[in-house]
């Protein structure tokens, strides 16, 4: 009887322990998901507790692969008209060669979401702005289409809409005569998804998106473990997008 009792209590202990450890294993993901999702109600202002950023690993970025470009443009309704000089490009693939060693790298280029964005400084109306969480956006309602931000951006990250736009996505309004660029898929971020279309599309795991202010986020841990660099770091813009292995 007492043995039975002991068996039962042991079984129940094991059961509880298993459940507990399962919860302990899954919880952080669930909790983090909830934190990301619940961090902000739609009516609540964005805060600087979070800073969204991205790490791009040139070693993992595959030759000839442009899945991130396709996914971004599909997600945001950016259609190419076969005129690369005037077509909008929120993200582009660039292949580089080290002048000294001859090593080649492929990387996607997108808005670098600078802490000190020159595009925001020069915008006469304040249409170019940076959210508290580090995402640099254009308010299409007050952009007058002067293109000064494009003159100021060191990364050629911005596009002026040269032609009528069709098939717009509800979450990514666009307009002829205004300027636009990568939004870090702000609609997904605000919906609590904590990711972007390009990151989701990258099957080579070359892109990691997350909160740079959270030391436990994957992007922070990766940045902490191995060296990375900012493009044109001499300009001291402290970009949200970092590159590894270039």
């Amino acid at each position: 009887m007492s043995e039975n009792m002991t068996d039962q209590s042991r079984r129940s202990f094991i059961k509880k322990a298993a459940t507990g450890s399962a919860i302990a294993t899954i919880a952080p993901g669930v909790v983090l998901y909830n934190v990301a999702q619940a961090s902000r109600d739609p009516g609540e202002a964005v805060t600087d507790k979070v800073r969204w950023g991205m790490l791009i690993d040139a070693n993992k970025c595959a030759d000839g692969c442009t899945d991130c470009v396709t996914a971004c443009h599909e997600e945001n309704g950016v259609h190419q008209l076969g005129r690369p000089a005037t077509d909008a490009q929120w993200i582009r693939k660039v292949t580089l060669r080290d002048k000294q060693t001859g090593k080649e790298y492929g990387i996607p280029m997108l808005c670098q979401h600078c802490e000190h964005p020159p595009c925001v400084d020069v915008c006469p109306t304040g249409a170019s702005f940076k959210r508290a969480d580090g995402i640099v956006l254009v308010d299409k309602h007050i952009c007058i289409g002067c293109r000064y931000c494009m003159m100021a951006c060191p990364y050629k990250a911005r596009s002026f809409i040269h032609e009528d736009v069709t098939d717009q996505r509800d979450h990514a309004p666009r307009g002829k005569g205004t300027v636009e660029s990568c939004t870090f898929c702000v609609h997904k971020v605000d919906a609590g998804e904590g990711t972007t279309a390009c990151v989701e599309a990258c099957t080579h795991n070359a892109l990691i998106f997350g909160d740079l202010n959270d030391p436990d986020s994957e992007v922070s841990r990766e940045l902490n473990n191995y060296p990375s660099r900012q493009l044109r770091a001499d300009l001291r813009l402290n970009q949200g997008v970092r590159y590894r292995n270039i």
Binding site: T66, T86, T95, R97, T125, C143, E163, K176
Partner: protein, 413 residues
């Protein structure tokens, strides 16, 4: 020196109406070009996502720069109390207002959303030099407007010097702002230089004066009023100093860049035409330096400038040279590829990284820049001198030259 009588021009001749007609047609053409660009989008122009400022900006910035320079003649009279320039002052102020209006008209009509002009004026980001420039441009209209009133209204003449000084200081700040549009662009190799602001000021001196000389000569010739050699001699001597000063600044700018290894490639691009910069080095050497600076200096510094026609030609060449300089600065500066990946060579890119951007000005852009810009500026001058007393009845030597007797005696001796 006799008292100066200012009168309106009659404005009834066939020639007068023909001139208004031509200028009106230029404005209409410029406006149509702008509507065409707005309707179809900017892809019908030569502009791209790399050359985002094209031909309209060359005319707009040139006219805005020239506007503040055209005020120099008035400043010399009011601020520095040179009597000989006094009769020339009201036209100088009118021309500066007109040139600014012409330049701004082009700038606004080239916006992606010109219909949002009101937003541009009400939503100001004060960290932007563009926003500051709006305040400076609007302030210029007000201050120079008051200055004109002080000059034209006899009762207010005593305040001319104060208003003139305010306008003079304002115009220096204004052109500093215009030069800083480029000077503050840290990312681009051809810009990001403090010297651009003072260089734009000296460019404004030469551009404004060259246009002033041509407008003055045309106004007096077409209205049959007398324009003495004394006035023109002073103005052309001044022009030669200004053109030389611009050359000095151009030299200082390029020498500074040539000293820094990081700027070698952009200098080779502009000065030698390497890496696809051929059209910019051609415009630089042939139009800006040779035709727009050396030839006018050769005319202005020699006895060739005794002929009025040659002074007119020299002034016109200075204008061409100034527009060429704007082309090299604005288009050349954008065409040179951005150094996004220092130390790396770009093998391929979905957006033409690492290669010079191509630009060829489209017809609508030129029509907008030239037609609207010069059309608005000149029609304002023509209407201005018709309705208000801007022009002295005579600018003959005995009327304007304080040293007239002495000089003519000297000449006789």
């Amino acid at each position: 020196m006799k008292p100066i009588t200012y009168t309106q021009i009659e404005g009834k001749s066939t020639g007068y109406w023909a001139l208004l007609g031509v200028l009106g047609a230029m404005i209409l053409a410029g406006f149509s070009a702008s509507m065409y660009m707005e309707h179809h989008g900017h892809h019908v122009t030569g502009m791209t996502n790399q050359i985002v400022w094209g031909m309209p900006h060359i005319f707009a910035v040139y006219l805005i720069v020239a506007a503040s320079g055209a005020l120099n003649v008035a400043s010399i009279a009011s601020v520095f109390s040179k009597k000989a320039y006094k009769p020339l002052a009201p036209l100088s102020a009118l021309l500066s207002l007109a040139l600014l209006a012409g330049g701004l008209a082009v700038l606004v009509l080239d916006l992606g959303r010109p219909d949002r002009l009101i937003i541009a004026m009400t939503e100001l980001n004060l960290k932007s030099i563009f926003a500051w420039n709006q305040l400076l441009y609007n302030g210029f209209f007000v201050i120079v407007g008051i200055y004109v009133w002080m000059m034209l209204e006899k009762k207010m003449n005593k305040y001319t010097r104060i208003a003139g000084t305010a306008a003079f200081i304002w115009r220096l700040i204004l052109t500093t702002g215009t030069g800083s549009i480029f000077g503050f662009l840290v990312a681009r190799q051809a810009y990001d230089a403090a010297i651009l602001a003072p260089m734009f000021i000296i460019m404004s001196f030469s551009a404004g004066l060259a246009i002033y000389i041509l407008v003055l000569m045309a106004a007096y010739k077409w209205t049959g009023r007398e324009l003495g050699d004394s006035v023109l001699r002073r103005l052309k001597n001044l022009l030669s100093v200004f053109v030389s000063a611009v050359l000095y600044f151009v030299l200082a700018y390029h020498l500074t860049n040539l000293y820094a290894a990081e700027h070698h490639s952009v200098e080779a691009f502009i000065l030698l035409g390497s890496n696809g910069g051929g059209q910019y080095s051609a415009v630089f050497w042939w139009l800006q330096i040779l035709l727009g600076s050396v030839v006018p200096l050769a005319i202005l510094f020699t006895s060739l400038s005794k002929q009025r026609l040659m002074i007119g030609i020299a002034s016109a060449l200075v204008i061409i040279g100034g527009l060429a300089q704007m082309y090299v600065i604005i288009i050349g500066g954008q065409a040179f590829p951005l150094e996004v990946f220092p130390g790396m060579e770009v093998i391929s890119s979905g957006f033409m990284d690492g290669v010079p951007a191509a630009y060829s000005a489209s017809f609508p852009e030129i029509v907008l820049g030239f037609g609207m810009g010069f059309g608005v500026a000149l029609i304002m001058v023509v209407i201005g001198v018709t309705v208000l007393r801007f022009l002295p009845q005579s600018l003959a030597d005995e009327v304007v030259d304080p040293h007239y007797v002495a000089e003519s005696a000297e000449a006789a001796a």
